[in-house]
């Protein structure tokens, strides 16, 4: 039972981190109609910035600030230089150009930092376990859940309660209307893109402390975030949250249950490897099933 609760918490933790990625992607798609494959690169940029600053200053907080700033800056720069030329293009051009950006970012970061993974230490204040009723759980992972939920609340507040949220939602509905409202669309788009980038960078830095920081870390997360968006419905923040939790739980619980089940029929180490990979497959089966049932995702419209 304690194990189950722990695994559910792990699932929620990986789910909220996925949500940080998926929220940015879904906002960018919802507002600008852009599919951004390079979102995983911004995740990587955040992680590398955090690792570099942490090793220079020893401060995790400064590392997080650096991750947010570097990813937001990289996002804004890329938006101004490249992305803004793609809004009016078809999805094929967007895929190609952002694929090109992945190549540039990945190999560029490899050029600067080399191919070896960097490590980002969990801050002392958050290391070690915490007692949660009957179970002990990692303090840091619990903090990740908290941060993720705070960001989710912040995003709901931003999109539902603020002036800029009104503009964002108007932009989703009708670009001409928002122009008629006298909003500077160019600046709004740059802001939304940089916001999405900052969220991705934050996720990269936070996850970087429990995994390693290396080139290519962003793309598997990016693809999972796509799955999240497809499940939740493109453009819906709520859908992104529900989808992210579903995917996180499927991955984590499948990763525990499948090796256990497989160990009945094969030896333990093979069962571990096969089960973990099959849990990943389970995510895509979940996606295919939801799509078959609702081609526009759980909260998609149109």
């Amino acid at each position: 039972m304690a194990l189950l609760i722990e695994q559910v918490l792990n699932g929620v933790q990986s789910g909220v981190m996925l949500f940080l990625m998926a929220a940015g992607l879904t906002l960018i798609f919802g507002v600008m109609g852009l599919i951004n494959l390079a979102h995983g690169s911004l995740y990587m940029v955040g992680a590398f910035a955090a690792a570099a600053v942490a090793s220079a200053t020893g401060s995790f907080l400064l590392a997080l600030v650096a991750a947010l700033a570097a990813a937001a800056a990289a996002g804004a720069l890329v938006e101004v230089l490249v992305i803004r030329r793609l809004y009016a293009r078809d999805h094929l051009d967007q895929v190609l150009a952002t694929f090109a950006l992945i190549l540039i970012f990945s190999e560029g970061v490899r050029w600067i930092f080399g191919s070896f993974p960097l490590f980002l230490d969990i801050p002392a204040a958050l290391s070690g376990p915490v007692m949660l009723g009957p179970i002990t759980y990692s303090k840091y992972r619990l903090a990740l859940i908290g941060i993720g939920l705070v960001v989710a609340l912040g995003l709901f507040w931003l999109t539902q309660r603020t002036r800029i949220g009104v503009q964002i939602r108007a932009g989703e509905a009708d670009r001409e209307m928002i122009a008629a409202l006298g909003v500077d669309i160019g600046r709004l788009y740059t802001f939304v893109f940089a916001l999405g980038a900052a969220l991705a960078g934050l996720a990269g830095a936070l996850v970087g402390a429990i995994q390693s920081v290396q080139v290519g870390m962003g793309e598997p997360v990016l693809i999972l975030a796509f799955v999240v968006i497809v499940i939740g419905g493109i453009g819906s923040i709520k859908g992104a949250l529900v989808g992210a939790l579903l995917v996180g739980l499927t991955d984590t619980l499948g990763g525990v249950a499948l090796p256990a089940a497989l160990s009945l029929v094969m030896d333990l180490s093979a069962a571990q490897a096969t089960g973990a990979a099959l849990a990943q497959v389970g995510i895509y089966v979940l996606m295919a099933a939801i799509l078959f049932w609702r081609p526009r995702g759980l909260y998609g419209h149109g």
Binding site: F29, I104, I234, A270, T274
Partner: protein, 325 residues
């Protein structure tokens, strides 16, 4: 320049480079030409779905990989003298290329049918994301399959055979791949010029017109996707035979992205776009890769320039005709 002369020139050039390298005793260059032919074949498969049908599949690595594994599974069982299954009947592996090709085409088509049935329920950006996700699913399936090497993949000690030829001789293996490429391109030209091709091309531009003409565009797209998957599957089997090795990386999303890049560099929807794109890609990989370990930065910049400057690719540039929109 007329596109048919460019096509003839491209294909003749590829054949002549291989022959010249063979005569000059440069087997590595022959192997590179073989790689061009195989990548061109894979991209030619995608070109039917993407170039004519407008289906931006970011998961064609599935078919490339599945063709590779069709080869790997059949050949590894044959080299171990171990039947693949014995009930309800004995099914032996094989080291014979024609049978391997048939198997690769069949599994490629079958996978494309299943994935197409699900993915084509959606369109646009959903389709892109879903095909990408299916690619990742097959990647993890391949990793999770310890009987066939899991993450490490499968090695084949001796290249598979073709009756009457020595496939270990680079120029003979090039000849096989080149001949298949020519046959498939000829088939693609016929398909593009057929009523089916006409309707598929129209379905990309004007699906409502196609429906009002009494044709279901989704059926066209599904068949295009199936043929496309079969061709890319065949290319995967050849690619695995070229390397005598198959691993889950053949399923990776980078492969899917690179196949699209080949088509874009060469020219979308153009018969020999994939050939020009594959040739350019392999040349860049060798040349830039020789200059810098980080050559993909430059590939990225080039790709960005091609996309932002407008499409049409090499063949479009040579033909100086307006690019497709």
């Amino acid at each position: 320049m007329a596109e048919r002369w460019i096509n003839a020139g491209l294909l003749a050039g590829l054949g002549l480079v291989a022959l010249w390298a063979w005569a000059a005793g440069a087997p590595f260059t022959v192997t590179l030409a073989t790689k061009v032919a195989i990548l061109a074949l894979a991209a030619a498969g995608l070109n039917l779905a993407l170039g004519i049908g407008g289906l931006v599949s970011l998961g064609h690595a599935v078919f490339f990989g599945i063709g590779g594994y069709a080869m790997g599974v059949l050949a590894s069982h044959a080299q171990a003298y171990d039947p693949i299954f014995t009930r309800p009947f004995v099914f032996e592996g094989t080291k014979s290329m024609p049978f391997i090709w048939l198997a690769a085409i069949a599994v490629g088509a079958l996978a494309a049918w299943v994935i197409g049935r699900i993915s084509l329920r959606t369109s646009g950006v959903y389709f892109i994301m879903i095909t990408l996700a299916f690619g990742q699913m097959f990647y993890y399936l391949a990793i999770s399959w310890p009987a066939y090497g899991g993450e490490d993949g499968l090695s084949i000690y001796v290249r598979n055979g073709f009756p009457g030829l020595d496939t270990l001789d680079p120029i003979q293996f090039f000849g096989i791949c080149f001949a298949i490429l020519l046959i498939v391109l000829w088939c693609m030209a016929r398909i593009a010029a057929s009523p089916f091709g006409l309707a598929l091309n129209a379905a990309r531009q004007a699906p409502t017109r196609v429906m009002a003409s009494g044709i279901d565009p989704d059926r066209l797209r599904l068949w295009a996707f199936v043929v496309s998957g079969a061709v890319t599957g065949l290319a995967g089997a050849l690619y695995a035979d070229l390397n005598r090795f198959v691993s889950p990386t053949m399923f990776s999303w980078q492969v899917s992205g690179e196949l699209i890049v080949l088509i874009i560099l060469g020219g979308v929807g153009r018969l020999c776009g994939p050939v020009a794109g594959a040739a350019l890609f392999v040349v860049l990989e060798q040349w830039l890769g020789g200059l810098s370990e980080y050559w993909q930065v430059f590939l990225g910049l080039l790709l960005l320039a091609v996309v932002l400057a407008g499409r049409g690719g090499i063949v479009g540039l040579l033909a100086r005709v307006p690019s497709r929109g």
